[in-house]
Point group: D3
Chain length 124, copies 6
């Protein structure tokens, strides 16, 4: 049942996630595809402070990622939320909005999001 498998002994740690993300971003940007590189730059700009503060924007990114059910995107925004000092209650309320908007199909991603958040809290 190989393809159904995920390694429970060698976790996809946040550190591995960061490393893979950095390595692949570097390979992608190194290709110098104008559209892709500009998109990556724009993506970074999107979460900078403006009329809304960074924390609110990261919560928007988190909930958008949750309802679109992308674990890696959720992880990324959870890391950023931790850096911005978002509280556990604020995370849970944000996730609750995503759950109600997106439905029970979101639940497996909610589980992994909470697991990640607890992991992030332990790192502090």
């Amino acid at each position: 049942m190989a393809i159904l498998s995920h390694d429970h002994d060698t976790p996809d740690s946040l550190e591995e996630f960061r490393k893979y993300r950095e390595r692949m971003n570097s390979e992608i940007l190194g290709e110098n595809n104008l559209v892709i590189n500009r998109f990556f730059a724009l993506d970074t700009r999107t979460y900078e402070a403006g009329a809304l503060d960074v924390k609110t924007k990261e919560l928007l990114g988190l909930v958008a990622s949750l309802v679109l059910r992308c674990d890696d995107c959720v992880t990324y925004h959870l890391v950023r939320c931790a850096e911005e000092g978002v509280s556990r209650s604020e995370i849970f309320e944000s996730l609750s909005v995503g759950l109600v908007v997106g439905g029970s199909i979101v639940i497996p991603h909610l589980r992994r999001a909470v697991d990640r958040w607890t992991e992030l809290e332990k790192k502090k």
Copy 2:
């Protein structure tokens, strides 16, 4: 050939939208299906103030609705944002997050969202 306009499931006016919404909610809740009625009650609770204020939660609902590309849901949250005193810049920044997360496929919904917001501003 108006069947071609199905992409826009938003009614003419905000007033018509409200009326249709109320009439159908009334018909749906009147059926007394336990699961549906509890879901509707829960949906209302989701946006009440808690660790996050109502305004932030409405922005979360707005961006979630935009990336999932539901015009009616976007309209609903825009109405609530207007009631909560959200500014035009805050709306645009929220929409910009939804645009970057969701991509160009979001643009037709962004157009209708901005159109709706301008309509809401004129009502003040």
Copy 3:
């Protein structure tokens, strides 16, 4: 606000829906694109009785269409459900599954589905 507009006095009746569907299916199949024509034939086969009866299969098609939020597909399966003698309670329970799986983003489609079902009941 033209693009946002829909005529509320000349409803997209089930009759108009059927006519447009038939006219365009005829134009599409007349093109003799092998893949498209076989897909249409296969689509019809999908809902024929087998290990599951037609009614159950139509309910599966209905809920799949609801969570994927396609009004026309929902309408099509509601028409078929009416032909197969599905009851109002069975429709509401099926829709409730779609609502919980798919979340509040499904609600505008739920409203239109219930509206359509009531229209279908009146035709009997």
Copy 4:
């Protein structure tokens, strides 16, 4: 290519799936977020017998999960279908509806669903 990797010798068994699900549900519910906890309770209610029997509702949940392409949700409903005595032919016909509605993008999830079902049959 770490992030692409999954351990093929230590499969994500149904038992591991159940344990992780239980552990995380427990952590999530322990947070006492009213909206999330009510959603979980509602999710359970959704599949109880009513106008439709439990088996039909589980098949609706299965097909909704398949077209929304959530492996964990598919696994959950397959487990429940096995408990309700659904036959292999009924599972395949349900999956066929999901495949035709959702398209070839569903195929990788179909493979994992069939793999899971065969695993469930062996457990009997």
Copy 5:
């Protein structure tokens, strides 16, 4: 049944589509939200000739829009395909790929796409 309605006498013509698109793009860009404006500029760059010619890129945009089921995006790319001299057979083959990848849920959008294409052919 108002919200289900679409005006069959005042069609959402290509001309109206273009006008609404231009008017709203103008209003959106006039807001000078940096992220949104850069996204719009990037969107235009995406379809310029490079390793792939413009025609191929427009077909990619068309099929991506079809499987994501956005009628306005499909219309936009059909207009561009017509400008680039794409043939009716090439359009149908592209749509067939979108149909098989995206499934029967795509069919209502396929109908409107073919309707639009025929309208575009008549304009030549």
Copy 6:
């Protein structure tokens, strides 16, 4: 905590992907479900040369898979693109269309797609 890695439903190696795919396709087709078997046959027909050449059709399949965010489908079309002699620049331009249409939510899949493509280039 490897349940967190569910987002990556791609197996370690291309060889393992091929083996699992073949084994499960064989099990699925062996069930002789008429609808499923015809769908699989139709899926193969979809990418055969016609008005469009095989290479263009594979690029259409690739971008459709990317915006729908299915790693296995992306891998499959990358393998086919490699067999059809698609260049690295053509792959990147195709992926750039998918990125702009589908938004930043596509980025994790873009990373894995580029990783896979580099792996395929090394095999030559």
